[in-house]
Subunit: 756 residues, 2 copies
């Protein structure tokens, strides 16, 4: 099954005999010529060497790298014929190979030990040998089947990393051998990933970014301008069908027909550096974006790539670091696997490159310090020296908004944060655009975090990445039947139908509108947005306010969601909590047998564990999770149904997590306001067996009035305090002076909200 | 509702006027007389003072104690009239009061600052004032309703701690005041807890231990020999009904009619120091056992209490520390709340006392170091000095057996452990006796741990201790309807009926028999036991072997459970795992609606999420939990039913955790062998997105033969290796030489098992 290392015996009968046998004897240090000049440069190599033993984090990284690569050398070269899907043996081995080659190339440069160059060379020759012997990977599951991997995407990973290894040994190799490899492996591989797979290469998508970069990187190494231009500007775009879709359900081609690396910088990044697919894929894409940018800066400085689109690539690193919880784990917006964090190597690279090519933001150093390693190049050296000099500043994540859309006018993400000593809270509000093929149907949804723990979750994706037993490590069908649906998120589903009727084209044409983002007062931070297209004829306007009241230890969240429709509907607003129910103010029944909540759009995956009627103007729901007490206090109509739900129905492979939620259902309702308070108010210590502040601080929340112009709610604290919030709902008047009368009381204020 | 501090104004009209008004003016240091002599002594006070500033852990503890008590002084005295259940305001305040008084007493002695003495005195006078004004606590929910608390148990806590505070100020108080307090508060309180509540005081139970100790401690302080004898030997035992039960369902009286402190040492402790109720209650009882023992050693050294029953009290501390996982959390055998650990203050006390009065076991010091605090007395001082001198040794938990029963002949607990660098595994096998009223019906059950995480769980208790919303913090009814039942544990349930038909009296009369405990070979550790009474006419013989094979990174567990019955039955063996199913070798169906698994004995709380037929001689089940891959490989008959189950049915208050299990069901079967392999074989890293060793190392496990004399199983590794295990089943021959033939192959060995 695998092609074992039989290089010298097999190659006797080939054209290469002479070259390779000479090579075997003549391996002397001959690092001549201009290479490396891609990521490492001859200059940076000298500088790093001069600092070896003197920059702890770089020395530590180098030591670890040596151990890894030496272990690989010990094992020997293994270039198997492609066979397996993700997670399988051949897939994993080819991944290991490019990672080890890239590192070995660096070690050759930094340590001047030819064993590393030989390792890279011999492996490349193995690849060159088998490359022409087959067409494509035997598993045709992708819209763009690869060579050594089941999809071109992974082959592009290979070429992006391997280009760096190749650059490191390029000057050391005899010209006959570079000519041979260029002609028999690299140029055909680059052509395969581009001209032979235009649907893969010519998109605006993280896949194509990898493809563009792979072709561009090898082009830079080989000095092949045709490839470089192809990478930057894409293939010819005539004669394409703009409605064609890939196997994720995404459009193949950009709506404006753009393609190439620059288009991939232009289009998915907003001016704030938010990547429309979401943080998980931004994390994945940052490596090719930045490593190619660094290479371009080294070899094509006239392009001024880091200034492109107002320096969006550097901004993107800052945005991405801000899209993490207290543990550095990315918010799983859209398709995102939980647990992925800025400790991933691509973020080590990103942080180093952003520090070096940006404005040496000292906060990045503290992230690098946590990461504990650096990129072995000029950028990592600079970070290592700065860290050695103690220049780092804490990276304190502040409240911020990140616009979405190429021009920044397609909604966005609003993050409200609270930082107090070691305690942090974050509310993440998503009013972003569709997010290409990895987008979820969750307009105006939110999630909430405390100290790195999820309190109210976004389900994330349904996939066990690289766990072969679970659909070869690929997306599970429950991603489409549950995780992407509206009900899997903390936002409103109308008539048990997902936003845009789960139609990708409709979703891609529309986006919510940001209404207000105001965090000037750290004790009253507000973010508000409107969605008018998810359900034709229905408008949703949702506002989150993070309030720190001096009488309470932690801030609480007020969530006001105004719904106005041309007709009567059923509205469901779920809160996806974790842990165990401690108490409810409402009565409910639990069924003797469990049935599904609905027939489609994710409802078919939800068990109805209990339900009751609000029977009051406000309900309260307290739960215990992670040794903390949380409460939801929500204004209700007396006949609102309260559903206690749990994921897990119609899940024959047990792919879904059996997580719970509480759903507030308003039936046969036209216009309404959901108004809720969400609190983290207490703790449980199982060693002391003490429950501290196990009860909500609130008596209730009431909707005082609601019309097109204003929505007013009143909060009643248990300590007797009362607060009124009035929101001005109309764009044209939100900054104006307001005077209104509610229940015979006059309210006067200027701006989007009243709070007293 | 609360009685505020109005001492001087209100007492003017009482007999005490003169004394108290004099007191107010005359508070000069008058620490005369022999007190303290209970826990602190005049000698140890001098020694501690001489070391202040010189023993870091003691200094740190003292500093923390000062901060806590000063904060309490700042708040002022609050002695409310009793009103609330556990977790409620008055309950919590009275708990705070005794804790603060005890600490204030110590601070008065160590710091010579009279403000602490005044605080204790004034609070005691408040208690003395309201004590006679009411009969009992207004909530009559206990079989022994208390005074300031809803149950005598908490009042005994109060008196045990307060005795220490009282002792610290006894010599400082004018005789008139001690006479007053003795007569009006302490003696009547001691009588209330004993003669007025014989059903509470005169038992063998952790409750009574607290009661005995409370009465004994205050007796020692007052020099009241009648109380001391009452504490040590109990009340008169004539005229009691030995079949009477408390509100936990436990017997009120010991079967031999024993009572008093010494009986409570004698009866529930095995000679190895295992406490029959289980670790959670042992932890709770260790404080009164040891604090009273220390007091007796100080005041009645002739009793030689620490040598009583071969020094069982010191052994008990070692046993208890060994009944913890890698994080120091107690195994939740019987009623046990998860998360309780040796970081609880009662274990700080226990470790210090065991170090001082035992043989200065240096391993205890490393536990004390982790605990980070010491008891502020001679024992804590000794620990602090030893720690300062760096004398600690690691407390490495080894495989061990702990006998159960007063004489050590009523079964026990077997723990198999694996320690390798930072990796630990523990298998906890329970073949212990009923365990009094807190016992569960789980003969021959087991649980499994890895690095402090539960892999296969014991459900523990169903209770949210001190969470008022959940039944006042008390036991939930699901404790009796689910948690105590057999099906809630990893052991066999016959005919959907719990062991002993869930009959406490039958359970209490019987216990399993230990068969083999052999850990001489660390690569082949074995524990085996038999149960013949749980189901009349059915014998169960279960053996666990922890095998470390040189070809595998971690040990695996072989679980062989032989069942022989006089008739055909249905047998269910569940494995209560956590996390998500990754793959199954068997086909199964998931229902469209969920129904309960059975009608009673915990089955009514379980949803049947899926079921299939083994349809093979061996099944395999792989799951992912805590980023680790685990597999169960089990020998099956082709028509065995495999049930995928989840807790949660008939749970109207959502009191139960919705945890999953896999159940192997054998229907219409008389004699059978369950043989399984349990492995922790792989890891998942969500940052690297790498699944390492995601597949089991085993092909299958087969039962080769089974009869009354021998049971033989064969393990097939995926690496081609095969191993045969033969167990000698009969007591009389287990140490003998064996020669048998299975499928035409001869096996010869000596001892209880063959493995090759």
């Amino acid at each position: 099954m695998t092609v074992k290392k039989q290089f010298y015996t097999f190659l006797i009968c080939t054209l290469l005999t002479l070259v390779s046998c000479q090579e075997k004897k003549e391996i002397k240090a001959v690092k001549t010529g201009s290479h490396p000049n891609l990521i490492l440069t001859t200059k940076s190599v000298s500088e790093i060497k001069a600092n070896l033993g003197n920059t702890p984090i770089l020395d530590k990284t180098l030591k670890k790298t040596i151990a890894e690569v030496d272990a690989a050398l010990e094992k020997g070269i293994d270039v198997p014929m492609p066979e397996d899907m993700a997670g399988g043996y051949t897939h994993t081995q080819h991944k290991l190979n490019y990672a080890n080659m890239q590192k070995a190339g660096v070690l050759f440069q930094l340590l001047d030990d030819e064993k590393y160059a030989i390792f890279v060379r011999d492996m490349l020759l193995e690849y060159a040998k088998i490359f022409p012997t087959f067409n494509t990977h035997p598993e045709p599951r992708s819209y763009a089947t690869g060579k050594f991997f089941w999809q071109c995407l992974n082959d592009s990973n290979w070429l992006t990393y391997t280009s760096q290894a190749y650059d490191c040994i390029y000057s050391w190799l005899p010209k006959e051998q570079t000519d041979y490899l260029n002609k028999n492996l690299f140029r055909p591989y680059a052509d395969f990933l581009s001209v032979e797979n235009p649907k893969y290469f010519n998109r605006v998508h993280n896949h194509s970014t990898w493809g563009n970069v792979a072709v561009g990187m090898i082009g830079l190494v080989m000095g092949d301008d045709e490839l470089i231009n192809r990478a930057l500007y894409g293939l010819d775009k005539s004669n394409v069908d703009l409605t064609e879709k890939d196997n994720d359900g995404g459009f193949i081609y950009d709506k404006d027909g753009k393609a190439g690396f620059l288009a991939n910088v232009d289009s998915p990044f907003s001016p704030d550096g938010f990547y429309t697919e979401g943080p998980y894929y931004q994390r994945y894409a940052m490596y090719p974006f930045l490593i190619f940018a660094a290479a371009l800066q080294n070899k094509k400085p006239a392009l001024k790539i880091f200034e492109y689109k107002n320096g969006v690539l550097i901004k993107a690193v800052d945005a991405l670091l801000n899209l993490t919880d207290a543990d550095g784990e990315f918010f799983p917006l859209n398709d995102g696997q939980k647990g992925m964090s800025y400790f991933t190597p691509s973020l080590v690279s990103a942080v180093n490159i952003a520090y070096y090519y940006g404005k040496q933001d000292a906060r990045l150093l503290s992230v690098a310090k946590k990461q504990g390693s650096v990129q072995l190049d000029a950028t990592g050296l600079k970070v290592a020296i700065a860290l050695k000099n103690g220049e780092e500043k804490p990276f304190i994540k502040q409240s911020m908004q990140l616009s979405d859309g190429s021009k920044g006018d397609e909604g966005g993400i609003g993050i409200l944060r609270y930082n107090h000593k070691d305690e942090t809270m974050a509310l993440v509000y998503k009013y972003a655009a569709q997010g290409l093929s990895h987008g979820h149907y969750d307009k105006l949804s939110f999630s909430m975090y405390e100290n790195g723990e999820e309190v109210l979750q976004d389900y994330g994706l349904s996939r066990f990445v690289n766990v072969a037993q679970k659909n070869g490590g690929g997306y599970l069908k429950e991603n489409k039947t549950y995780a992407k649906h509206t009900i899997a998120h903390n936002t409103i589903t109308q008539n048990e139908t997902s936003h845009f009727n789960y139609d990708f084209e409709a979703g891609s044409k529309n986006h919510p509108e940001k209404y207000v983002f105001n965090v000037a007062d750290e004790n009253f931070q507000m973010v508000s947005a409107k969605e008018k297209n998810a359900y034709p004829g229905t408008e949703m306007h949702r506002t989150f306010i993070m309030i720190k009241d001096e009488s309470l230890a932690k801030p609480f969240i007020v969530d006001i969601c105004k719904v106005a429709s041309e007709q009567k509907n059923q509205y469901d607003l779920p809160f996806h909590y974790f842990g165990q129910i401690i108490s409810t103010s409402f009565k409910y029944e639990v069924p003797k047998t469990l049935s599904i909540l609905g027939q489609k759009h994710g409802y078919n995956h939800i068990w109805k564990e209990g339900s009751g009627t609000a029977n009051a103007e406000s309900i309260q729901f307290t739960w215990l999770d992670n040794r903390k007490f949380y409460s939801l206090t929500a204004a209700t109509n007396k006949n609102d149904e309260i559903i206690l739900a749990r994921i897990g129905a119609n899940d024959p492979e047990f792919n879904l997590r059996k997580d719970p939620s509480i759903i507030i259902r308003k039936k046969n309702t036209q216009n309404t306001v959901y108004a809720s308070i969400i609190e983290s108010h207490g703790t449980y210590n199982p060693v002391k067996e003490v429950a501290h502040n196990a009860y909500s601080n609130f008596k209730n929340i009431k909707v005082l009035s609601d019309d097109a112009n204003y929505t007013a709610v009143k909060l009643q604290f248990k300590n007797g305090k009362e607060k009124t919030i009035i929101l001005a709902n109309l764009e044209h008047s939100k900054d104006k002076k307001h005077t209104i009368n509610i229940h015979n009381k006059n309210y006067n204020w200027v701006g989007a909200y009243y709070y007293k």
